[in-house]
């Protein structure tokens, strides 16, 4: 489709919405309609719950849905990472079995990638999958798994060959979480929340048809998942206005979001809450202090220009243009902004920065910023790894010599196993 028929498409969506959208129906019924019509995911292929539209045209469709005040397809959590990966690498059987229940919100997913022994070096993972009596038997441990405790399925990376270099011995599986060999334990963070889990596998089973792609071909599929993660395909999204709506659909949606978004509720705080700075500066009376004013100004300059850099990157993506350096800088920029924001919040809080909970400023929100910001320079690839990516991939500087990719994984030095 080309852009010139955007008007026709908009009219078509409107007509469809007029006939089908009503707030008083079960959420799943509505989302099933939406999925089957293809309007919920307009950029997906036409044979798989989409329309095959360009991103620009897709946005026009989503705009219409939003204007109508209708609820969109389920997008919260890591479900969209699973969907994007299956669309690209899954078999038709996988797509048929999993995509629809992702869009309707019936099934939640989690991402079983990071391990205690391998974070930055994800390809150094040591969870093993062995084929026994025609089934994959999984043993090992994952960590930092968001929502593992209410996910039905997990995207699992496991090692299937130890005698080849690390990237060549990894396979990508779909794991059914509800089985005896899978144990999920909450992982408490320094800010007191437990948004993540440790997941232990003891002879967990994956049926052979739930291998995605080729055996030992999992790394390239993992890269697809990670690329979508970086693009922010996951996370806390929904049509904000819809949340305030009336009717059965909205009641069920609110329930769903409360549940699915629970682990993410401190995420805004880890980004530093620049949005609160001016309000806090006024409330604390320090808005007139020239030292603080300079700090605030520096922060706002950093934050605004980072935001505009992110918009440049998004625009290039929407227009289908190759991205420049701006596309890889966002993560590091966000980390710098968050650290600076925590510093300014501390100055604005004064002695009250020593208090938390209901004794703390804004009912503890400010202290939550201070003890959550350290996550942003680690989660989703550390600052050091981002700098490697920027220097090597963006600036084309030479890579550091590597001694872990030229030999069988078995022979690569690694962290002692722990259970």
């Amino acid at each position: 489709m080309s852009e010139h028929n955007e008007q026709t498409v908009r009219e078509e969506v409107r007509t469809w919405l007029a006939a089908n959208w009503k707030p008083d129906q079960p959420l799943i019924t509505w989302r099933t309609l939406l999925a089957e019509s293809g309007w919920g995911m307009p950029t997906w292929p036409a044979q798989w719950y989409g329309k095959g539209y360009s991103m620009a045209l897709g946005n026009a469709v989503l705009e219409e849905i939003q204007t109508a005040g209708a609820v969109g397809a389920a997008q919260a959590g890591v479900r969209m990472l699973a969907a994007a990966t299956l669309l690209e690498h899954g078999s038709d059987a996988h797509k048929a079995k999993f995509l629809k229940s992702i869009l309707t919100g019936e099934h939640n997913w989690c991402q079983l990638f990071s391990e205690p022994g391998s974070g930055s070096d994800l390809a150094g993972l040591t969870t093993r999958a062995e084929l026994k009596d025609g089934k994959w038997v999984i043993n090992g441990q994952k960590v930092w798994t968001t929502s593992a405790h209410h996910a039905q399925y997990g995207m699992l990376l496991a090692r299937t060959d130890w005698d080849v270099p690390k990237h060549q011995g990894i396979s990508y599986f779909i794991l059914h979480m509800d089985q005896p060999g899978v144990e999920v334990r909450p992982l408490r963070q320094m800010n007191g929340h437990a948004s993540f889990n440790e997941v232990f596998f003891t002879d967990a089973i994956v049926l052979p048809e739930f291998l995605v792609g080729e055996r030992n071909g999992g790394w390239k599929i993992a890269l697809t998942t990670l690329a979508h993660e970086r693009r922010g395909a996951d996370g806390v999204r929904s049509f904000a206005r819809a949340e305030a709506g009336q009717g059965q659909v909205f009641d069920e949606l609110r329930e769903e979001l409360a549940h699915v978004n629970e682990p993410y509720k401190w995420y805004p705080q880890r980004a530093g809450r620049v949005d609160l700075i001016l309000e806090r500066a006024k409330a604390s009376g320090r808005i007139t202090d020239p030292v603080i004013r300079q700090e605030i100004a520096e922060l706002l300059i950093m934050a605004r220009s980072s935001e505009w850099t992110a918009r440049r990157a998004r625009k290039a993506q929407v227009m289908g243009r190759p991205q420049g350096p701006e596309g890889s800088l966002g993560k590091l920029a966000a980390s710098n902004v968050a650290k600076k924001a925590a510093h300014v919040h501390t100055l604005l809080a004064g002695a009250d920065a020593m208090l938390k909970g209901s004794d703390g400023l804004m009912n503890g929100l400010i202290s939550e910023i201070l003890i959550s910001v350290p996550a942003i320079s680690i989660a989703g690839g550390t600052d050091e790894i981002q700098r490697n990516i920027i220097s090597e991939r963006v600036l084309g500087m030479p890579k550091e010599p590597r001694t872990d990719v030229d030999r069988p994984f078995r022979d690569v030095p690694r962290n002692p196993g722990k259970r």
Partner: protein, 373 residues
């Protein structure tokens, strides 16, 4: 200035360190931070009886050991390293210095032997809602009554305020500022524990409604005694912070040398090595500042106010950076509750704001450095 510790001081440091390694492993810290009083009375007794630490800097004639600020700095540094949960800073530092600076001879004879023996814990209540430790910001008021005086007002951020036996309270009176001794159990005194970011050092809000109190010292303004007390405590706090920072550097370097990624220890990556090198640079500079300030205090140098602020500002920045970098070098594990780094991070964050934040201390240093006022 000596710029080095004597052999005796070194032996003393080792002894304190060993004692704290035994009595304050982080497992203990975690247990104690979840208790109401936040310390272990048995350890406090041992620390008092076996090592005499609360009386370290109290003159011998009052039952103390008669050492000076350098030895006190050593103790504080080791306590910061061990993240000790104890009323040392509140009672042995704030309360004791206030008594030494403001009390009459008779009052000293009454108070100091118990403080030195660790039998009594006396904290100092200065800051109010604004968090300022400056005399000019005090509004709590004292007025004379038939027997002694009566206090009215509200103090905030009182360290160990909910567990101390007595409090020395800074209040406005007819002489200017007075420091008043009150019993924690006195009628009209209400203590409300505060929910602190740093769980290893408790604070409280204390409300006084017609609480009977005894003024320390003679009938004159105690502002100078208060300022002196805050300077002394600020230097001790700086020492405590550099001890924590030193521990964090060690912890980060140890982990970087053990943790493998990409087939090598992460400490072999230049990004991590340089981070550690920059960090140790900042921490060693802050240590030098803390040591210099402690020695100046021991020698009664007139520059103590400027040096206290200098040392505090340097220690705040170094300790917070050490905690932040230590988390970063640990990666995801550094952000977990199970890892100990966050306990040091929270102590660093709270100490940064205690007794005045870095902006205040930088400005105050300039005001007190000769010629820059």
């Amino acid at each position: 200035m000596e710029f080095s510790f004597s052999d005796e001081q070194q032996v003393f440091r080792d002894m304190v360190r060993r004692f704290l390694e035994e009595t304050s492993p982080t497992k203990e810290v975690r247990r104690l931070m979840d208790t109401e009083i936040g310390y272990d009375p048995a350890v406090w007794q041992r620390l008092s009886n076996e090592l005499g630490l609360p009386g370290l800097h109290i003159p011998e004639r009052f039952g103390g050991q008669g050492f000076g600020a350098v030895e006190l700095g050593i103790v504080a540094e080791e306590m910061g390293r061990a993240l000790l949960c104890a009323p040392f800073f509140s009672s042995a530092v704030l309360g004791t210095f206030a008594a030494l600076n403001a009390a009459s001879e008779a009052q000293r004879e009454e108070l100091l032997p118990d403080l030195a023996a660790g039998k009594k814990r006396i904290t100092l209540a200065v800051a109010e809602r604004s968090g300022s430790w400056q005399a000019a910001d005090i509004t709590t008021a004292a007025r004379s009554a038939p027997s002694g005086s009566v206090l009215n007002g509200e103090k905030w951020f009182v360290i160990d305020g909910a567990s101390a036996d007595q409090l020395i309270v800074a209040a406005v009176d007819e002489h200017g500022i007075g420091l008043y001794l009150v019993d924690a159990a006195a009628d009209g005194l209400n203590r409300i524990p505060l929910d602190t970011l740093d769980p290893t050092r408790k604070q409280a809000r204390v409300v006084f409604s017609n609480v009977s109190a005894q003024r320390l010292g003679g009938a004159s303004d105690a502002t100078a005694a208060l300022d002196r007390t805050v300077d002394q405590a600020t230097i001790v706090l700086a020492s405590e912070m550099v001890g924590g920072a030193d521990h964090l550097v060690r912890s980060a370097v140890d982990y970087a040398q053990m943790r493998m990624q990409f087939g090598r220890v992460v400490g072999s990556f230049q990004a991590i090595k340089h981070k550690c090198a920059d960090l140790v640079l900042e921490v060693e500079l802050a240590k030098s500042a803390a040591y210099y300030a402690a020695e100046a205090l021991a020698e009664d140098d007139p520059d103590v106010p400027a040096l206290a602020s200098l040392a505090k500002a340097a220690a705040s920045a170094a300790c917070l950076r050490a905690a932040t970098d230590c988390i970063q070098i640990h990666g995801g594990i550094g952000f977990t509750w199970e890892n100990d780094t966050h306990l040091y991070f929270k102590r660093a964050k709270a100490s940064e704001m205690m007794l005045g934040d870095p902006v205040y201390h930088r400005e105050r240093m300039l005001k007190n450095v000769g010629g820059l006022a």
